[in-house]
């Protein structure tokens, strides 16, 4: 990819991040406005670095926002929460960082690290810890690869910053960070997964920032060319396929332990008996067609509008929408036995669903 992201790239990045958000990951509209504004203020594009360029003894850290996306569309950030938390952690460690890592390429957290990187004068790496979006802190390749959750910093709009010096487990991190996030107003800057250059090389899912940009650009081009199925264009680029086309005939939502869980039913246009059921917990988790599992986590299930391929967040789903369901294989890092314990269907409570991967991988193997 080009070694930077500028004003001309943010529309594509927001769209691509929405596709990789698989229904969750937060509103990319606000994320894009924030990044655009920072790009104008900085007067220069955000530098992007290939992880192989990092020396093994450098220091990097993962960044993003955590909390409820619905809070994010109302209580917009001050804008420097992440940067200040990174600076506080650097001061605590007595050492500066060499680059920022995108924790989650799905949704608004793909855009936030670029804004912070511009503020801090650091590059971001082309890659992330998921190749998609997930709802919990421990669900990334860094945590799965054994990178400790601590030290972890959380920050709010007032400049309050908490550094967790030691957390006994990723689940402990998830619990404490979540409770403090509520105290901070339901949305907070999250800085975690401190890694050396060598560690990030061992655990980063490479090339996902480029993939988000490519997906967004391809979709924009497809719209311009008025292609019949924008969903097919997305599926082709993500090595997946269009699983279903139809309309949403039912959406049911409930809160379970603070998460928006729910289930939707879709009906094919040409055959009312041909149905797809999809369950979600912020992100889409499992899709059944006529009773059989068609696709499940960690593979990606993305729902887009039929007409123009706009990715739909699970909060936007409603009766009558005409949509295409796209299935894309997960990145290979999420398909190891260790990873599947954390991000497979059983980790979301679907013990009876056996993970049968879609063929291929989201991204080709590195040369």
């Amino acid at each position: 990819m080009s070694a930077s992201v500028g004003l001309g790239d943010t529309a594509a990045l927001a769209l691509g991040a929405g596709i990789l958000g698989t229904g969750g990951g937060g509103n990319t509209y606000i994320g894009r406005l924030k990044l655009d504004r920072q790009l104008r203020l900085s007067g220069a594009p955000c530098p992007v670095m290939n992880v192989e360029q990092l020396d093994d003894d450098t220091l990097v850290v993962g960044v993003g926002m955590t909390g409820a996306p619905t809070v994010g569309i109302e209580k917009i950030e001050a804008g420097d929460e992440v940067a200040r938390a990174v600076q506080a952690l650097a001061a605590h460690l007595g050492r500066d960082f060499d680059a920022l890592v995108i924790n989650e390429i799905g949704g608004s957290n793909a855009l936030e690290p670029l804004m912070s990187a511009l503020q801090l004068g650091l590059p971001v790496l082309d890659g992330d810890g998921m190749g998609r979006a997930f709802p919990e802190l421990q669900m990334d390749t860094f945590s799965i690869g054994g990178i400790p959750a601590s030290p972890l910093a959380l920050g709010d709009c007032h400049g309050n910053i908490a550094i967790f010096e030691r957390l006994s487990s990723p689940l402990q991190a998830e619990e404490w960070a979540r409770n403090l996030t509520i105290e901070m107003g339901g949305s907070a800057a999250l800085v975690m997964s401190l890694m050396s250059g060598a560690e990030v090389k061992a655990n980063l899912v490479r090339g996902t920032l480029s993939l988000a940009l490519d997906l967004g650009r391809a979709l924009m081009q497809a719209r311009e060319d008025k292609v019949a199925s924008p969903a097919q264009v997305i599926a082709d680029l993500g090595n997946g396929r269009v699983l279903f086309e139809g309309k949403i005939v039912d959406v049911e939502r409930r809160t379970v332990q603070g998460f928006a869980r729910g289930r939707m039913s879709l009906q094919a246009f040409d055959n009312p008996d041909d149905r797809m059921e999809i369950v979600f917990q912020n992100e889409n988790l499992v899709a059944w067609r006529d009773g059989d599992v068609e696709c499940c986590v960690p593979d990606l299930i993305t729902i887009v509008t039929l007409e123009d391929g706009t990715p739909l967040g699970t909060e936007m789903l409603r009766y009558g929408l005409r949509v295409a369901v796209i299935g894309m294989p997960a990145v290979r890092e999420l398909k190891t036995p260790a990873a599947l314990e954390v991000v497979g269907p059983a980790a979301f409570g679907y013990e009876d669903v056996r993970y049968t991967p879609l063929p291929g991988d989201l991204l080709p193997a590195a040369p």
């Binding site: 406005l33 569309i73 209580k75 917009i76 950030e77 001050a78 709009c157 509520i182 107003g185 339901g186």
Partner: protein, 514 residues
Amino acid sequence: MRIGIDVGGTNTDAVLMDGHNVLGSVKTPTTANVTDGITDALGTLLRDSELKVDSVDGVMIGTTHFTNAVVERRHLTRTACIRLGLPATACLPPMVDWPKDLSEAVGGVMFMAHGGHEFDGREISPFDPGEVRDIAVQIRDEGIDVVAISSVFSPVNASFEEDTAAIVRDVIPDATITLSSSIGRIGLLERENAAIMNGCLRQLAHQTINGFRSALQEMKITAPFYISQNDGTLMAADFAAAYPVLTFASGPTNSMRGAAFLSGLRDAIVVDVGGTTTDIGVLRQGFPRVAALAVEIGGVRTNFRMPDTISIGLGGGSLIQGEPLQVGPRSVGYELTSRAQVFGGEELTATDVVVAAGHEDIGDASRVSGLDSGLVAKVEDRIEDMVNIAVDRMKTSAAEVPVIVVGGGSILVRRKVVGASEMVRPDHFPVANAIGAAIAQVGGECDQIFSLAEMTRDDALARARAEATSRATAAGADPESVEIVEVEEVPLAYLPGNATRIMVKAVGDLQEGE
């Protein structure tokens, strides 16, 4: 009896209704000052029906006037915005994503101050009266007296917006103030955008509503009058003068509600053919299906609930070109009766083709009798294709559904649409819009986040229902008739304590005999 009026960009339509009966209807050209067009329409309507004006119980007016003002960037008043929320929200100031020409037309000055609330009602920062007073003084010194006020999570707690309004009023006694909490739902930028647009339309609204009022007075109609809003419900005229932004998209809603009423169908596709465009929407249980995605008005993002419609460039005034064949999107619009060939003009329009084909007897048919019959057939085929494709795009299943055709230009749609179980062109089809206005009810909405750790779900729902009901009553609904028509719950991801966003809409019949 009720009178429904639709003031469109091209025509002003009026209907007289007694209960469910349409007693009379009239279509007249819209005039530049709006008032004359209404006076003309009412004069004709009352004369034709020999009605005594004192038997009119209410007048309902639908208008696209305010939407058009934003789209055309005309008649907008300079507006200031004060947002409360610092230090949060600092990175995206008000109007951050407005088209440049529109923000220049609004000529606004933007301020951010401390304040705002968290989702659970805690304060983000304390309200600082001195800070707000300084801002109010700056606004006054700029010579601006229209102010929009927004505050983070004001749908949960509006007190900071109200406190700010009191200070602004103290500094600028004649200030025209819009609170974001009174017009929008969760989504700070979208709600604030609506408040600013509302502010810059207030002066036009004041003039326009006064114009409506004087037209009615001229006709000696003393009954109360109402303006229709985007969800198909009514607001009292004085309320509309304060909240013109709520009229956005009322046009398509009215025509679809009118089509449902006239046809007696509750589930159908509505094709509304006007002079320049055709709007296609879906009726579900008698109400328009609502768009899921954010809707832009004049390039500004809002979160109003708008009917999910698509618009194609086909209408009675659409210009026809032979080689290569082209129908619309250019149109003679309101000049149809002077520029179309059947009316002695030079332009070949879709209406001329329908007359040449012998389907309709409009104007002077002899003026198009020499039209090439091959071209006529090709144009008719093209119109059929355009409608078929658009209807198919809006369909939600392969099953056949009834298609209702309304609007002044609906003479263009003569053939059965593919996938239609039946084609219905109801009586009074040209004035479905005005009928939709006449039959409208009044409503109220509640959109708040509740913490279900502190109360039961039933309590939260009851509170939301009570709030929506009281808003409907405040808007003029007969308390006896108010019903809850929509309840939507969205549990908020990532937050324990079961924070849930609850949206409730209540609708009731208009209280009569005030």
